[in-house]
């Protein structure tokens, strides 16, 4: 299954904020985490993550710092700010509403039980 471009773009911000809420990270590790969480179904070009991170930084949602990796290479680390945590909570609310609506609007399928947890899962970007 390929997730549509618009949905990937819309999910990117809450997913990245959510991953940074787990602890500070850097670009490559964030992408690894996205692949891991989505079972490889939520993917975008590697390079696209960085403009997104820069935007979140300009908005004050994340802070960044250059550090050295264990191999001695420079690496830019990103960390969620207090404002970013608030933005994440807000995004989570919005996605819950969307998820709730979808739950109600779609007829019950075979995995009704799973879909009832759709909203919080969407907010974490794992669906």
């Amino acid at each position: 299954m390929r997730i549509g471009k618009d949905l990937v773009a819309a999910a990117a911000t809450p997913v990245v904020l959510g991953i940074l809420a787990e602890g500070e990270s850097y670009g490559y590790a964030i992408l690894q985490r996205v692949t891991e969480l989505s079972g490889g179904e939520l993917e975008w070009s590697d390079g696209m993550l960085y403009p997104l991170l820069h935007r979140l930084e300009r908005l004050g949602h994340v802070e960044s710092e250059w550090r050295h990796s264990s191999a001695g290479r420079p690496r830019k680390h990103y960390r969620l700010s207090a404002q970013g945590a608030a933005a994440l909570a807000e995004q989570r609310k919005q996605w819950s509403v969307v998820g709730g609506v979808l739950d109600k609007v779609w007829p019950d399928g075979a995995d009704g039980e799973r879909r009832s947890r759709l909203a919080p899962r969407l907010a974490l970007g794992t669906e």
Binding site: D46, G60, R73, P74, K76
Partner: protein, 460 residues
């Protein structure tokens, strides 16, 4: 493993970096970050058993196409997008020579033929009005109405705005033209001069709506227009200086052979040149950004400290002598200009700044500039308000007091935000949004000066 197998990984990455660096929108720091990512990805793939060059190819491929990538960066870093004409105009970075042969004449050199034609049109409009009306004061009052439509036409040709935006701006020009010419101004009325100044500000901002393709609500579109305005001003001044020097030289050379060309220079070269230069400067901003982008940040960096020093000296002088209260009635207008310069220095510095950089010495210096401007202005305001009864509320005084309060409110909040930014509690985006969000207030002030002041003050 590299012997006989082509370049090693470091060489591959070095050539990849060179390739990326050709894109203006990517800074070395961006490329550092992407390189760090690339090396992580290559390590991951190499652990899975790929050779270095295989891993390199896949890692580069996974970054995404360089066009799409630089487009994303440009969309985020609009201050760089501004520098990168290629994004909108040229069909592609490669093969421009071959493409040039098929570009129609009027599109060559970023539309220079169109800009020149409109510039000639603006000059002729001024001259024709001058010949028809035969009253220099009326022609001067209509300067904005006569010249700026050509600038709006230039933007309309360059940017292809939606028709609704063009009609709205055309409506503003018509309203301004009616107000400037139908109001029964008494001769040498100060409200007439105020209305002329207000129409320049208001119509300039309305012209920006065309430049923004009608997206006047967008913060980035407003910031782009502010950048345009600043760079345009630098170019216009340069053209005016060189034009003035050349005219003086021409007069001197002809005078040496007993031919008096002063009337010709005054009646034709000066008005037509001043009007035409508006369009040429606008064209230069679009065509020669690379030249100016090195000058403009330098200008703000040079003049911010000097201007701050000037205001600090003024505070000391005012406190030592305490005679601002007795100063002339032009004081308020002079201080409006001081505040305009402070706002211009601030906005220009913001527009040219890389939002990703952490606050540095220059941002702290701006706090000092804003603080000293606020102190100076409060002293002046107290002095002027204390003497309001003596001077009365003339049109000039009311207009400059209004402008002073508008600028003071801007600078006060800007200073607060700037302090927060230096302390890293305020994101840079809020500084930008505060300045771009303030544009409609200037427009409202200018509209009030043009439309409401003349009747309120009896057209005097």
């Amino acid at each position: 493993m590299t012997i006989g197998q082509g370049p090693g990984l470091d060489e591959l990455i070095a050539s990849w970096r060179q390739w990326m660096a050709r894109r203006d929108v990517l800074t070395p720091s961006d490329i550092d970050e992407l390189e760090s990512h690339l090396r992580d990805r290559i390590d991951g793939l190499a652990d899975a058993g790929l050779t270095d060059d295989e891993a390199f190819l896949i890692a580069v491929k996974r970054l995404g196409s360089i066009d799409a990538l630089s487009h994303e960066y440009a969309a985020e870093h609009s201050e760089r997008l501004w520098k990168q004409l290629v994004l909108h105009d040229a069909p592609g970075p490669e093969g421009t020579d071959a493409a040039a042969a098929t570009i129609p004449f009027h599109r060559r050199a970023n539309g220079l033929p169109v800009a020149l034609a409109l510039g000639v049109g603006a000059g002729l409009a001024v001259k024709v009005a001058d010949l028809l009306i035969d009253d220099p004061a009326v022609v001067a009052r209509n300067a904005a109405v006569l010249v700026l439509p050509f600038l709006a036409a230039w933007f309309a040709w360059r940017r292809r705005p939606p028709a609704a935006a063009v009609w709205a701006v055309a409506g503003a020009f018509v309203v301004a033209a009616i107000a400037l010419n139908a109001y029964p101004f008494v001769p040498e009325a100060s409200t007439a001069m105020l209305a002329a100044a207000g129409s320049l500000v208001a119509l300039w901002l309305m012209t920006g709506v065309v430049e923004a393709r009608g997206a006047w609500r967008s913060d980035t579109a407003r910031m782009d227009f502010l950048r345009f305005s600043g760079e345009w001003a630098v170019y216009y001044l340069l053209i005016a200086l060189v034009g003035g020097a050349l005219s003086a030289l021409t007069i001197a050379v002809f005078a040496s052979i007993q031919v008096d060309v002063v009337p010709f220079v005054e009646e034709w070269v000066l008005p037509c040149g001043a009007a035409g230069a508006v369009l040429v400067a606008a064209w230069l901003v679009g065509a020669k950004q690379r030249v100016i982008e090195n000058i403009a940040p330098v200008l703000t960096k040079v003049f911010t400290p000097l201007f701050t020093l000037m205001m600090l000296a003024l505070i000391v002088a005012a406190v030592l002598q305490w005679n601002l209260v007795d100063a002339s009635r032009d004081l308020l207008i002079a201080f409006d200009l001081v505040l305009v310069v402070v706002v211009a220095l601030l906005v220009y510095a913001i527009s040219a700044r890389d939002p990703a950089l952490p606050p540095g010495w220059f941002d702290r210096l701006q706090v000092l500039m804003l603080a000293s401007a606020l102190v100076v202005d409060v002293i002046v305001l107290i002095a002027m308000i204390a003497r309001t009864g003596e001077f009365g509320f003339t049109a000039n005084k009311t207009a400059s007091l209004l402008l002073n309060l508008i600028l003071l409110a801007n600078l006060a909040w800007a200073a607060w935000l700037q302090v927060g930014f230096v302390q890293r509690t305020v994101a840079f985006g809020r500084l930008e949004r505060w300045q771009t969000g303030y544009l409609p207030i200037y427009l409202a002030w200018a509209a009030v000066i043009v439309l409401i002041f003349p009747p309120v003050f009896g057209f005097a």
